[in-house]
């Protein structure tokens, strides 16, 4: 499979937009960044937008009438508009800014879950969830006496949809699952699963931490009720994330955190909550980060989500093919055409940490561990894995360097 077949866009030009990719990890050893699933690198456009904001427009929002205050408010709300358009939300009010995916999921659990669910209610999750889509529900379940059931993961890394169908017969109130696994790369059939959940009378919350950065996500076409994601995994800054929720749900939900900005009126013993989405954004938010997120989306759109997806599909197909050449290497997860740009693997006789450490010597950044998915690793029968993940700035040559380095690991450990 010739690398050229996959040329979707001018990768040299894209790479030039990311200053960090020019870095040498040691003299003469160029960085190969294969850890975008943990966090993505940032293009100059994002770094500069935040810099410009701090140099030129910095002020608090929704308060001062001065010029800076108005500029900052306009920029912050423009970011919300941009996010809404990016995921095809009907309205900007359906976009709540949070700190990250984790906080967005917690918001659903604590606001929607705590007010709407009662003892004995069922929530369906899956075995491939990130801890952030398990622990909030475990906490809520303990508090309210909820039942949790889990869609199993099959040996080849898919959700077992037959079991899912059977679980739906028990009338769950909520189904919460990841769009794309951060370990297996599996892309779950969100639309089909959502339709079925709705027919069973349940709402659907999707963890979009891995899908929104890499796929074209349309919340209306998918039909989901809640979607959570993080800016830092989609070329944006850390410190800001998004909860999308249908307007009617947000209207129904009580506030999450209390404080400034989330109120309309406060008296000593009572308060009137603000309108949505401000009702859920207590205190001074991450303003510069919203500006950075807006720039990140602009960048992603300029390249095109379809093009990014196609590029990553090519890379992962090539990577899976080449990984199969390394002796004693086991790669988890589905076939290339059902997964995003993620490959988690173990090398026989070598601990995943040691693999990652030796790759680091070669300038290659991968992650080793359980990737915040301990239950999934238990299911896979692996304490830990090493994970290589790709984004729009990765190249076929970098896959080659990964493979070469893995051969070196093999040689060191015999």
């Amino acid at each position: 499979m010739a690398a050229e077949t996959y040329k979707i866009f001018d990768i040299t030009k894209i790479r030039a937009d990311f200053p960090i990719l020019q870095r040498e990890i040691r003299a003469g050893v160029k960085l190969v960044y294969l850890d975008s699933t943990a966090t993505a690198q940032k293009p100059l456009a994002v770094i500069e937008a935040m810099d410009r904001y701090y140099r030129w427009s910095n002020a608090n929002i929704h308060r001062g009438v001065h010029t800076l205050g108005e500029e900052a408010t306009t920029l912050y709300e423009a970011a919300r508009q941009r996010v809404a358009k990016f995921i095809h939300a009907c309205k900007a009010q359906e976009i709540v800014f949070t700190r990250n995916t984790t906080e967005a999921i917690n918001l659903v659990a604590y606001s929607w879950g705590r007010s709407q669910l009662k003892a004995g209610d069922l929530i369906i999750l899956t075995e491939m969830e990130h801890h952030s889509n398990l622990v909030p529900w475990q906490i809520l379940a303990a508090e309210k006496g909820l039942r949790l059931e889990f869609v199993p993961v099959t040996g080849d890394g898919y959700l077992d949809l037959e079991v899912y169908d059977r679980l739906l017969e028990q009338h769950p109130r909520l189904v919460a699952f990841t769009h794309m696994s951060n370990v297996l790369g599996t892309i779950n059939p969100v639309r089909e699963m959502t339709e079925k959940a709705h027919r069973a009378g349940a709402l659907v919350m999707v963890d979009g931490a891995q899908s929104v950065p890499h796929l074209h996500v349309d919340v209306q076409a998918l039909g989901v009720d809640f979607l959570a994601f993080s800016a830092h995994k989609m070329l944006g800054p850390t410190g800001i994330g998004v909860l999308y929720a249908r307007e009617t749900l947000l209207e129904q939900m009580p506030p999450f955190l209390g404080g400034g900005d989330m109120i309309k009126r406060v008296e000593l013993r009572t308060f009137t909550p603000n309108e949505i989405p401000h009702k859920f954004e207590a205190g001074t938010p991450a303003i510069a980060e919203a500006v950075g997120l807006e720039a990140a989306i602009a960048y992603l759109e300029s390249v095109g989500m379809e093009a990014i997806e196609a590029h990553e599909r090519g890379l992962i197909a090539y990577a899976l093919e080449r990984l199969a050449e390394v002796p004693g290497l086991k790669v988890y997860g589905p076939a290339a055409n059902h997964r995003g740009g993620v490959a988690s693997f173990v090398m026989e006789g070598v601990h995943p940490h040691d693999v990652a450490q030796i790759l680091d010597r070669e300038g290659i950044a991968v992650r080793a561990g359980h990737h915040c998915a301990m239950p999934l690793h238990q299911k896979l029968g692996a304490v830990a894995t090493t994970r290589a993940s790709f984004y729009l700035y990765n190249t076929y040559e970098e896959v080659d360097r990964l493979i070469e380095a893995l051969h070196k690991v093999r040689a060191i450990f015999g």
Binding site: G349, H351, H353, D354, R361, V383, A384, F413
Partner: protein, 135 residues
């Protein structure tokens, strides 16, 4: 950095001298490094006069933690148990032959000592205590 995977480490990882379980034992303790799921158990047999007569480790982990466990056990055999209490971070680095280790890998290297000391004292040690301990 380049000598992180020297022969000594790889050899001890692949063919440890003191791997196993002692049943019965006088002291046994087990702990894990939550970051990577590495788990180590250390069993000791101690004579009347407090001398460590037998010791073995079990569990799983990376080359650094496994080699550190093997070398640590070798170094305490025949020693009075009181001496174990005085062992610290620098002793482990010396055993492994490293001048320094990064903040992530030092936890791997110190896990066996953490387990051993917890066993000897009969309680758990926080990372921070061991990390700050100089022998």
């Amino acid at each position: 950095m380049d000598d992180l995977y020297r022969e000594l480490i790889i050899e001890r990882y692949k063919m440890p001298h003191h791997r196993g379980i002692l049943e019965p034992h006088d002291i046994s303790f087990e702990d894990e490094n939550p970051l990577c799921g590495d788990r180590i158990r250390i069993d000791l047999r101690v004579a009347e006069d407090g001398t460590i007569t037998e010791a073995a480790f079990s569990g799983h982990g990376c080359a650094i933690s496994q080699a550190a466990a093997d070398l640590l056990i070798e170094s305490i055999l025949g020693k009075p148990i009181e001496e174990v209490k005085a062992l610290g971070r620098q002793d482990i680095l010396d055993l492994l032959g490293f001048e320094e280790l990064g903040p992530v890998r030092i936890k791997c290297a110190l896990l066996p000592l953490k387990v051993l000391k917890a066993g000897v004292y009969g309680l758990r040690h926080h990372d921070s205590e061991i990390l700050s301990e100089e022998s």
